[in-house]
Symmetry: C2
Subunit: 466 residues, 2 copies
Amino acid sequence: MQKKHDFLASSIEKNSDDSQGFITRDTPPVDPSLARQEFVPPEEEAEYAHPADMANHMENLSLPEQVSLLRHLPPSEAADTLAELDEDLAVDVLEHLAPDEAAAIISEMSPDDAADVLDELEEDHRDTLLNTLTREDAEELRRLLAFDPDTAGGIMNTEIVMLERDITVDDAIRQIRHDMEDKEIPYYAYVVDDADRLVGVLSLRDLMLSKPGTILRDALHNQDVIAVRYDMDRKEVANRMSHYNFMAMPVVDYEGRLLGVATYDDILDVMQDEASADMLGMVGAGQDESVDTPWKDSVRMRLPWLMVNMLTSALSAFVVYLFEGSIAEMALLAVLMPMVANQAGNTGQQALAVMIRQLATERFDQKKAWTAVLREGKIGLVTGLFMAAAACCGVYLFSGVLSLGLVMGLALLGDMLLGALAGGTIPLLFRIVGRDPAQASSIFLTAITDSAGFFIFLGLATAFLL
Amino acid sequence: MQKKHDFLASSIEKNSDDSQGFITRDTPPVDPSLARQEFVPPEEEAEYAHPADMANHMENLSLPEQVSLLRHLPPSEAADTLAELDEDLAVDVLEHLAPDEAAAIISEMSPDDAADVLDELEEDHRDTLLNTLTREDAEELRRLLAFDPDTAGGIMNTEIVMLERDITVDDAIRQIRHDMEDKEIPYYAYVVDDADRLVGVLSLRDLMLSKPGTILRDALHNQDVIAVRYDMDRKEVANRMSHYNFMAMPVVDYEGRLLGVATYDDILDVMQDEASADMLGMVGAGQDESVDTPWKDSVRMRLPWLMVNMLTSALSAFVVYLFEGSIAEMALLAVLMPMVANQAGNTGQQALAVMIRQLATERFDQKKAWTAVLREGKIGLVTGLFMAAAACCGVYLFSGVLSLGLVMGLALLGDMLLGALAGGTIPLLFRIVGRDPAQASSIFLTAITDSAGFFIFLGLATAFLL
């Protein structure tokens, strides 16, 4: 596998709008006429030489134009661009290239990026491409494809510098200089024993600042390395790397043998995705939905949860049905009851959001979690008192019936407190039963706040007013 | 300012639970008895030598213990630990150290981290500390403090390698080797002209792979550098860095002069924070709330939006009030109407979440945005048809009144479609008027779906059933 393009160093782009010669990158310099050409000469595409921008540009082209573009780029640039493309798009384009064309591009990609793309293809197509690659490349990729894509093994890069622990720092530096041409991360080297077990990490800086002649084993100063096992969930990997501010996290197997490293660029994507997943999942949308998702897929992802929501609101409707008589007697109750449910639902969602993000961003701490539920309870109680007082006054002024105002206030207070506690607790309960803490949590929350709210309000009203 | 601890290279920790010598880091090896001691000898704290873990450990101590611990750590380790602490905690601890103790620690911190902490102090205390530092350090920090903390200037690091463009690669490497001891990012060097304007970026690898004797100016190959201005919002900086997979993004002024670099570790934090802010803001919670926020502050942050929610639900209640007579005639309407509002609200929230995350994670594209609203409309229509059919059947079976079922179905369809369109549009409208697209968006959405839902349902029922 060839080296990955060194993104930080060069960006061969012409000046756009800034007279100082800097690309401020507010708008990509797209020439609309390029989009309409079927055959796009590579020289003009050099305007978008940074792979990420090239990929953006490609998204605006038609499929034939995209394929044509990829064909005309040098394989290493095509590889970099393919790695930056949206997955669905990358698959489409690959399917329209001849196997040898596709294989030429894939062999230039970093193994982790290549594995990501190959993973999305149909099995037959994937096998065809793998068989077109060199045996060495194909073996490496098959090894990577064996890992669950949502784990450390699934995101790791295998092109790393491995050093024997009994060599000198001078030899190590020589080896790194030699490997520098091919490896993606030439500045960190992983020291292993003769069984390939990871024993330490040294940076090029550490090596260059050490006394010449020092044996690596000694240069490690008895360090214990922070590493993750290949089956760790990638969300957790992202949290660990973020916690330690690591640029690369070594991935090991259960024997401690070094398999690869997860790099910071992978976790940037993971973090964005997981943050979106929480928010989307909370309301029952597809957790990896975006505005690029085909609308039919979105329908398929959301419909089940909308069904569940329908059933839970039927449950709340049943509670109202139990008090149908009271409503027939005093229709004003129907005017007020949705306010109780709405307010408590919003209160609960606030608690829910805080707890979900807490579970997502920090290592789980049992004591801290339940303290947090208590905190939400306090907040629900105090805000509930405020709102109850306001509602009581409002209802009294509007209806002239003080007891109705008190019933409203009491119901609001009770439901808001319940909502806050439920909002804080639901993610924890989901976690205990092994579910995603966010998924459809809002739907279950409103099931509680609606049913309880109607029950408390109509119950109190029936008991004390009718 | 002294060098920042090189996190990736070493972690001086004793073996904990893994016989292979690896820290699997499932649970930090906390000795509970340590927490109760007032004076904590630094040798025992060496168990948590990685600053991020040391900071975690400190959070479990009392304030006197925290202060004592910081006092007994070597200043550079204390600096690293302080940089990892939660901001409020860091401020508390600093306030309890003597100015010279605090200044000793701050002078060891990376300028960007020091500025972050100083920014949170009371002005008097900050000035005292700045005056205790060396003039050079104090000037550098005052310069950084002048920037808005939410911008590129506010997160950037000023300890960078700057190279004149007319020197050779050999001299450049020599300079980097010399700077390596102090600089945080020794592997990337920024090439400037004689007015300190940024003209290019070279990596140590680029330099080492170049022919000896090459002038830097030529080694740059006419590249145009991707940089950001100091006043760019840090969210946007994070998106750019993530888009290009940059480890460091140069920050320049309006003349193109290099001021510093924003590094990937800063944006990891920014991305986590911004993702949480979207989710929390959507439901009206404080956008930087967490389970560590004092409950009184949470009350203060959430109450205004709860008030707004109360007012909007009063609006919906008023719509119901207009149809009080219809409800008095047919109380069953009150049983069914919350189902319409609930379902449409959830549908709308799904669209809302997708749009909010779209605006947060990608560069804004007008055409793409409105296409997305259309997509949500399609989804709302199709899911609405499914739900309407189900509801119609359900209501008919339950009540025996077909026209009621049809009214229910129609109202559900209409409100769900409206909810989907509103959910997709609200963030865009907020953006147009300069508001945060997420803030309290759910509250305004339910204002629409509740009012409209009640109006459509009760209106249709009144017109066709009563």
